[in-house]
Each structure stands twice: as structure tokens, then as C-alpha cells.
Symmetry: D2
């Protein structure tokens, strides 16, 4: 860490900061600049907040050198983590994996026919929401446990592992009985109680990016899970909130290669929520694979028009089939398989 002192800070203030630095077990080196004094602090103390130093008299700013996450960092673990979704597929390996299904589980017929079709098209897992986080309190909130039962039955019929969202710590155990993979949605990336809860159980977790989270905040959210013992974390870029108004969110594909530098965790992309528009799902899926994503999370429905949730961004099973065929040469062009 580097502590920059204010222009004109007193010797007493400088001495005080150095004493505090050394009190934390760090080595302090004072550098006299032409306009500012700077204190270089050596040692690894990620648990001390930068704010601690910023609050001291005479300090202009503390600038960290090390990232505050550790277990998520590629420096600590250089090799790629592979997260097993089923006996036949791990996310983060050579094979690109596409998770597909309806936004919300609506009924058995709908779910089973979608599951069958996405399986045939090559999906590696089935997604479906039983507990839905809806912005509007007056809209459909999901089938809850009944939906989970349908998902489990769909798994038996198709062999596809099941991914579903968990909204609250009190549901973690129950959902874990039905699902193979737990998903944390964008609105809960900063729900630290929930992160701890999924960190204390063994099922893989898909951690969506908070819609206004920096990459560092996102990796710190992953760190919450990892540090509780669950190392099966998959990161999912799903669009960030910006001034752009043509798409619901701005899908930040550069986050994918950026994360590949910073972390060993698998990274997937959700082009459905990330754009909010059906006709953008196909090109943005291709873009995601081309920039190096390990997989995709796509909303697919038999009849998007009748979809109770997120219809405008949901593609049909026919469109999904075509997309899967079109993705193959892209994956191969970047040295991956499908």
C-alpha cells in the first residue's frame, strides 16, 4: 500500500501515520517527493480497509497495491478451475457449455418440452426459475417448491443437471435438495448473508454480476463464497447499468477476458438478460464465445409470447437450435469445442 500525504502535511502527522503502519505489522518507508510525501507500506494485510488510512489527519489518499481478494485470484491459483455440473460436463474446461431453459418454471408441460428440446440441441444444463425476483410486486413471483419438483423431474427425464436461483438464505437448504447448481442473481450479489449461506453448502454456484458492481466487487462477492469453503463458483456477466437506453443493460463482454487475467474461476455470459432483446441473443452469444467465455446462460421457451416472464428476451427452441449450430465454428475458431 502507498499512503500519499497531503501537500503541507506536518512532520507530526507523518510520524503518526508511520507509527500506525508499523503498529499493523507493516514496514513503512518514507519518500520525500517534490510536492508531496509518500509512505510506502510493505507487507500483506488485505484485511485492513483502505478507509482506515484515508481517515487519518494529513493523509490525502491510500492507494492499495494488492487486490483485496485472495482465493479468487489467479496469482494465488494460476490454473483454471473447472466446476463440475454433471458427471459428463465441467464448466471451465475445453468444452464450451450452454445452459438453457425458461426464465420461470410455469407448468410441467412447458418445462418438460423445453427441457427435451434444449437437451437435443446440445445444452449441458437446464435453467428455470422457481423463485422469481420481480421488480414489480404485482407480477408473477414463481411456483416456488412446486417449480423445484418439476425441475427435478425434468432432470430425471433428460439427464440434464438443473440450475435455479436462490433468493434467500432460508431457502438454500430446501433448494439444494432439488437443484444441482444454485444461482445468485444480480440483485443479490451484494446480499452477503446469502453469499455466506451458499458458501457453506457444496453445490456449485453461478454468481451473477451485480448490475452496478465493479469487477473487484464481483470478485470480492465470489471471495465470500470461496472463503466459506465452497470453491465451485462460476461467474456470470449479465449486463451492467449504463446510460444506454436501447438495451435493458449494457453487456460488458470485455469483462470476460479481463476476468480471465484476474481469476481462475470459469466465466459465462447471459445474453438474454444482458440485452433484454430477443434479436440480440444470437449475435451476443457469438460475441461471448469469441471473447473467451466458458459458457452461456440463455432463456429459451416453446412459445415466448406466452412466457409469463421476460418474453421479449427469450428465444424459441428453434432459434436455440440454430444458434447452437452457429456457435460451433466460433468456438472452434478460438480453440474450444462444443
Amino acid at each position: 500500500m502507498i499512503i500519499v500525504m497531503k501537500h503541507g502535511s506536518s512532520k507530526k502527522e507523518i510520524d503518526h501515520v508511520i507509527k500506525m503502519v508499523e503498529g499493523q505489522g507493516l514496514k513503512a518507508t518514507l519518500l520525500h517527493g517534490t510536492e508531496r510525501n509518500v509512505i510506502a507500506c510493505i507487507g500483506d494485510k488485505r484485511h485492513i480497509s483502505q478507509d482506515f488510512w484515508n481517515a487519518m489527519p494529513g493523509v490525502e489518499k491510500a492507494m492499495p497495491i494488492l487486490s483485496p481478494y485472495k482465493m479468487a485470484s489467479r496469482e494465488v491459483k494460476p490454473t483454471n478451475t473447472q466446476v463440475q455440473l454433471s458427471p459428463g460436463f465441467s464448466m471451465g474446461g475445453l468444452k464450451v457449455g450452454v445452459i438453457a431453459g425458461p426464465c420461470a418454471v410455469e407448468n410441467k408441460t412447458q418445462l418438460f418440452s423445453i427441457a427435451k428440446r434444449v437437451k437435443e440441441a446440445g445444452a449441458v444444463a437446464l435453467r428455470g426459475g422457481a423463485f422469481k425476483p420481480r421488480t414489480n410486486p404485482y407480477t408473477f413471483q414463481g411456483l416456488m417448491e412446486e417449480g423445484l419438483e418439476y425441475l427435478a423431474e425434468a432432470r430425471e427425464r433428460t439427464g440434464l443437471p438443473v440450475v435455479t436461483e436462490v433468493l434467500s438464505p432460508e431457502h438454500v437448504e430446501m433448494i439444494g435438495k432439488y437443484a444441482d447448481v444454485l444461482q445468485i442473481g444480480t440483485r443479490n450479489m451484494g446480499n452477503f448473508v446469502l453469499l455466506k449461506a451458499v458458501g457453506e453448502q457444496p453445490k456449485p454456484v453461478i454468481l451473477k454480476r451485480g448490475m452496478s458492481a465493479t469487477i473487484e466487487e464481483w470478485l470480492l462477492a465470489a471471495e465470500y463464497i470461496l472463503s466459506r469453503g465452497n470453491t465451485n463458483v462460476i461467474l456470470c456477466e449479465r449486463g451492467i447499468r449504463t446510460f444506454e437506453d436501447h438495451t435493458r443493460f449494457t453487456l460488458s463482454l470485455s469483462a470476460v477476458p479481463q476476468l480471465k487475467q484476474l481469476t481462475h474461476l470459469p466465466v459465462i455470459v447471459d445474453p438474454s438478460h444482458g440485452t433484454g432483446k430477443r434479436y440480440l441473443v444470437n449475435p451476443m452469444s457469438k460475441g461471448a464465445i469469441a471473447v473467451g467465455a466458458d459458457g452461456l446462460l440463455i432463456e429459451v421457451h416453446i412459445d415466448p409470447e406466452r412466457s409469463m416472464v421476460d418474453g421479449p428476451q427469450t428465444i424459441t427452441v428453434e432459434e436455440f437450435q440454430r444458434l447452437m449450430a452457429e456457435l460451433k465454428p466460433i468456438a472452434e475458431a478460438v480453440g474450444r469445442q462444443m
Copy 2:
């Protein structure tokens, strides 16, 4: 609602949309434009998502006329809501109220001396965090129930009602035993399970704005609480995430007069988290009162440098005293009292 059909949409598509509109109990009027056809839909059906229409073939976009929140809307309830914090003070009336205290409860001595001092300076309630949502999993997470006990004891000593944050539905009941007002933090504004839980208990709720929430999303979050039966909701602007990097967040003071048009709920401002900088707390508090805020939520500490959390944005009790004196003429200039 207005449904704009695509350039070149077919008669069949138009008829289909009209049929669907009428199937929802709305009256449809078809307008032939020079380049587009438009279907005006009359009736109040806020529970049907705009997305439902956007997904239909031939539809370019559905444009809602009515806001999707109802109970929070000033149209439905034109008079200001006043939320009672203590027998002596309600937020939303003529008197501007300042809630003050440490970011986190750290120990008894700290809390009691801060409580005594902010009370003397004119605060209407004491804030203090017992459960802390921390971005970094390796930093102090709060004293939890022990902290709540200290807060309750501080109330007995000072008479100040106590405001504290609730992070998870499973804590609502327990925290409700100690606190007078429950706070929902920015990271939980979209935690709908938690919103429902605080909506089903009677204590007033301070609902902070999600750091990337639009005003409509924020009012819909309030609607979650209101629609469960709890009408004691106070909105708190606390800064939004933008590209600005000099402050931690961009405090959007225009949200205050904007909300005053749209809703009857009281609106307060948190200049501490909203800026992240101690020296901005004073001017931004003045600005908040000048634009019409009903109150403030301010972090105050005996010794910010020793504060375990958020030191850089915390002011001293002396600075708080001076601020309170300086706010009085501003409040009076806008027709309020302190």
C-alpha cells in the same frame, strides 16, 4: 398503454394484438399513422408487464402511460405521509429531522458517548449498525445481537429512537425487538424477500435507494413494503453509481424534489455514504435541506480515525454540532423548522 406496431406489421399481427388487449379487459383503439400503426389501450392493468406486449409478433414497443406503483404514488394519496419515529417526532412534517450516529456499533463506551452528544446537538434518532454489509469478506462484520443490546441501552439513556440495518429476513423479528426503525441498505433494495419481511411487521422502514436503481424501481421496492401492510416507509437517497471518481457515489439531490412530485412518502438524504468524503458532508447536508429533504442520515463518531468502518466519511461530534447550527437558517429559508 400505447402499443406501437412495427413499420410494415401485418393486419393479422395487428388483429392478434388487439384480441390479446381485449382479452385482458382493456379497450383497444387502432390508430393508423403515416408510417406506423398504434394501438391505444385503455384501462388500468398495472399487473400486466410491458414485456408481455413487447414479445408479440409485429410489436415494436409497448409504452406505459401509468406508473407501475400505486400505493406509493401521490396520485393515489395526495397528502404527505408522516412517519412517527418517536412520540416527539415524525419524519415528513414541518420539522426537518437528523438521524445521526456511528456507522457500526463498536463498543458501549463509544456508542453511549456518541449518542449523548448527537442528542445534545439536536438529532431526532440514533443510527448504528450491528449487522454490517461489508464488500470485503475479511473486514469487521458487526457486533450483531450484542450491538443491538447496546443500541437499546443507548435509547434508554438518551430517549433517542434507534435505527439499525437489517440484512436478512431471518433477522427481522429479532432486530425488531431492539430497534425502533429498520433500515434496508442499498445492496438490499432489490432483495424482495427481505422487503416482504419488513412489510409484514409494523416498525417504520428506511428504504435506501439501490445504487443503480431508477426512481421507478425504488418506488416499486417501496410498493413491496406498502403492499404487505406496512405504510411507514421513509425513502433515503444515498448516492448512485456513475462514472464520477472523485466521490464514492454521485449524490443525486434532484431525486428529492422529483420524489416529492411522485410520492407522498418522506424523503431523507445520506450525505455520508453519498459522497464518501468527510469534508463534503457539511455542504451536501445543506444542499439536501435546500432542495426539500425531510431529513438527513449522518455518520458521526467521537474519533473517526479510530472508527472501524467508513472513517473517511464520518464527521466528529464537534463537526456535527456546528453542522446542526448551520442547517437551521437553511431549513428556515425553505419554510421548514429544525
Copy 3:
């Protein structure tokens, strides 16, 4: 256009608005809603600002149905526009084109050797800045006319058409004497005097997106050029300003397929400025082609470390060669050629 009247607007206000609408040659239809009255206005009058209506007493908001740009719109011209850069290459056709070169022209030797190498690797045009828009007034501002001379000489040596930025209307004529394509940078997308000036000369124009421009504003900037008579406009996505701090800007690749719906103009992507990081240029170039871009604009240097401008985002000629080889299968996977 749809004009939504305020809840409780008077008959007099409504009549007044209708009169004004009809005064503009539009047909007005009044619709009585359950909570609001709405006036549907039929006719094509894009030149009347939405603001004109918003300002009237009793009006809540005016909602346009038609986009305000016309000549740039795909509705007006459904077929793709191809912009000829040289006798051998047009942007917007089957072939994907990559424009490459140094950020700034620094000297003859540098420029000629880069030009030779990018030509060999398959670039379709040479880029190089002679007039540099620099945020910091104390940094290198470009070689100016001398730089243009070198560019012209590089064209003679390699046969590559030359792309260079124009900063001011008074330079348009002079730069047009040397360059084949004029570039409008992100900081000048809203410099309407400059847009008019390049619209009144015949050379193709690469119009970069303003870093905080919506897609509509960007197309309106293109409309400035088109409406002055120059229809050779290429749009270039180069990153938008968001809260993300890991990259200099957020490259919004979804803008590409979005634009392909809205406009007939060719769309290219600048992954160098759009990310600000050398190691992101390769993956984001692939992503750009995969989402459907017609071309790329890439900063290439013999020795990026010695580059006087934008070194961190500039790739070497060797990296460029490899990138060009790697892009080929991606282009083919999406039905294009290179």
C-alpha cells in the same frame, strides 16, 4: 407522437394542445383513459421537438413514435450502404476490413515501416493521427501538416488508403487534400459545425460514437453529415463511459447488431480505445467480428513502448499479424470473408 396529459388536466388545456397539434398540420385523436387523457397525433413532423409539446400546460409527456433521424434510417433505405475506401475495398460489403496503424504519426521511418507491415498482414487502410486531441494540454499534440505529408507518402508506397482525424472545420479542406477518409473523434461527435463541414465535402467519414452518446444521438450526428450531402458515413463504436474502472471505457458490442437493425450504414469497432488495454484488443476484435461488425480500427506500432501516444492499448505488428490470422475463421463462421 402520443401526448400524455397530466392526471386532472383541464378541458381547456386539452383543447389548447389539440389546437396546437392541428396547427402543426397533424391529426389529433383524443383518447379518454381511466386515469389519464391521451392525444394521439398522426403525421410525420420530425422537425418539431418533443420539448415543444412537453412545455405546454397540462402535458405530462410527449412520447415520439418515429425516430428523429431519417436518412440514416433503415426504414428509409433498407439495403446496406457500402462505403468505398479504395478501388479495391468498400466497407459494409461481404468482406470484413481492418484499418490499422499508429495512434499518432511520429516520424517517417516509424510510419512507413508500420504501413508496410500492416499492409502485408492484410489491412485495408492505414490510420494515423496528425492532429491529436489530447486531454492534457502539456502532452504531444501531433505533427500536423507534416504528419499528413508522411501519410500521403505512405499511401504511395503501400497503396493503402489513409484515414486521419479532423479536429476543426478550418482543417477540413487541407486534410482532405492528403487523406482518403476523414475521422471524427469521440470528443467531436457533438461538434455540429464540424459535422456540417465534413458533410459538405465528398470524402468518406468515420464517425466515432461520442463516449456518452445514445445510439439515437449518434445516428442524429450521422444525419448531420448525410443531410449535407455526404452519404459515405461509417459508424465506429469505440467504448462508452460507465462506472467500470478496469477498462478505460466499456466497449458496447451490442451496439453493433442494434445499429444493423436501425441503420443501413456500415459499423466498425475500435477495440484499442474501447478498452485501453493491449491484451484486450485480440479478444475484443474477435468479439466485434462475431457480433457482426463490418470492420475494425486498430492501433498498431512497431514498438508500442516508444509510442508517444496511447502505448498501453497499442499492439505490435507481430501481434497484429497473428490477430489477422485468428480473425479469419471467426469472419467465416458468421458468413463473412477476410
Copy 4:
């Protein structure tokens, strides 16, 4: 400057960076950290771009200690700059000054009656656009020189100095003949050729913030003007582009006290463009004065409904009169006069 080397950077890379640092006349100190090596560079070389260092092999990032602007910095000039607008008023002193007038000059009658009324209400200068930067090429672009003549005549009639926008370097001289203060609009804050042109003439300049400019970029734009010899620069906050959609822009009032720390230049606020809504002009004007602004720039019209430009954000002369009366006690509450 602090240069952080990558984890695992080689001795050769470190030596190379140190050699380059010393080659620039800076003193280099190597610090061996537990996970990273860091090179502290001492000396004032603001003209070397941070990018220069970032591009070197083995470098993770260069972190500047000094801000890149100098003449605009309060460290270099601690006392407030006052910019004289007329013999009777300087912006930046004890007196708060309000500049008012129509968005665009439309005709003589309109201008003269507005000028008379704002003068009576206490405005210190008259604003009015003769050259209008319009997003839509099909809308009114201003009266141009004819408008300037009217402005000059309005000055003679009222004694108010005249503020008008300059869009292009080639107009600077001509506009300078008529106007007392030149305004640079938000879309031209990064038009460096124009900044240089207004820096080379003596009239005061109001420099609006670019809608996506950081405070550092804004101060660097001011530095362009100052470094050319014109020290009469007034900064004007006018709203930034964010995801908020209820206001046209987000007026960032915290920029005002922030700037007061960083620079000696006067700071004013434009609540009209900053919100885009008439009913927010009054509260946001009060907020601006409360946070410490030196003045305001407000759009006032006799009949906003007939205003050819920006009607929805323009207040009437009656509203302006009332606002001026209401601002007085706010100004006094923060130790200023009106």
C-alpha cells in the same frame, strides 16, 4: 508517481523501468514488497503521460501522485480567482451572481423584454444563444450574427453584460466583438482547438462540464484555456450523463464543494440543462447555492411555451423573480450575499 511492477516481473524489466525513469530526470527508489515490487519516482514531470509507463514490459500500473493540471490547481494558487463580468460584478467573490435569459435569441421583442425583467429581478448578466448546438439537424439552429446584434443592443438598454455560446474557433473573433463572456458548451468541452482559441483572447470564458467528463478532465480543459494566457475562466456544472431517466441529466452538486478544494476558479451551476425540468429549477438552484456555488445560469423566458428551444426546462420571468427572492436567505445562510 508510483510504478507497480507485475507479480513475477524480472530483474531485467525492473532495471529497464528504473533506467527509463531516471532518463526522464526523475529519482527512482525500488521497494521490494511481499508480493510485488514497486518503484517510487520523485520529481514533477506532469507532461509525461501515465500511459508511457503503463506500456512497459513488466509494469502492472503507474499511479500518479500529482494531478496533471497545474495553473487551475489551488495548490499553485490558493486564493480564489474572481472573474469580472462587468464593472459592477465579479464572479467568485462574496456576492452570488445569477446569469439569466432565454436559451436561444429568437427576436428583438422577446429578448429585450426578457432582459429588462431579469435585470429588474437582480440578474448580473444576460444569457442568450445565437449559435445553437442542436442534436437534431432539422431543428432551429439560432439567429447567428443577427442574434449577436440583438444581444449587444440588449446590453445597451439594460447595462447587463452579455453571455453567449461559441461553437467554433472561426467564430471566436466575431462573437468576441459582441459578447462580454464566451460560453463553451458541454459538447465542446473536449474540442481542444476551440479551447485554445478562447484561451488566446481576453474575454472571460464560462466552461461547461462535458456531460461525461470527470472532474480531472474538466480541470484539464480549463488548463487548456489558462495555459494560453486567459485566466478568466468560470466552471459551470450542468449535469452528467447517468442511468437516471427521470431527469435529462444528473446534476452533480457535490462537484461544487469538490472543485472548491481542487481549484481557485469560480464555480457556477446550470439547473436548467442539468435537470431538463422546469419544476426542478427552483429547488436545485437553492441546493446549488447551499453547497457553495458562486452563481447560477438559468433559462428564463417570457412565454416558455412559445420558446423555440428547451421550453420544458425554462422558467417564466415571474418564476424567476420569486426564485431570486427565495435564494437570498439561502445565500445569507451560507455566508454569501445576493
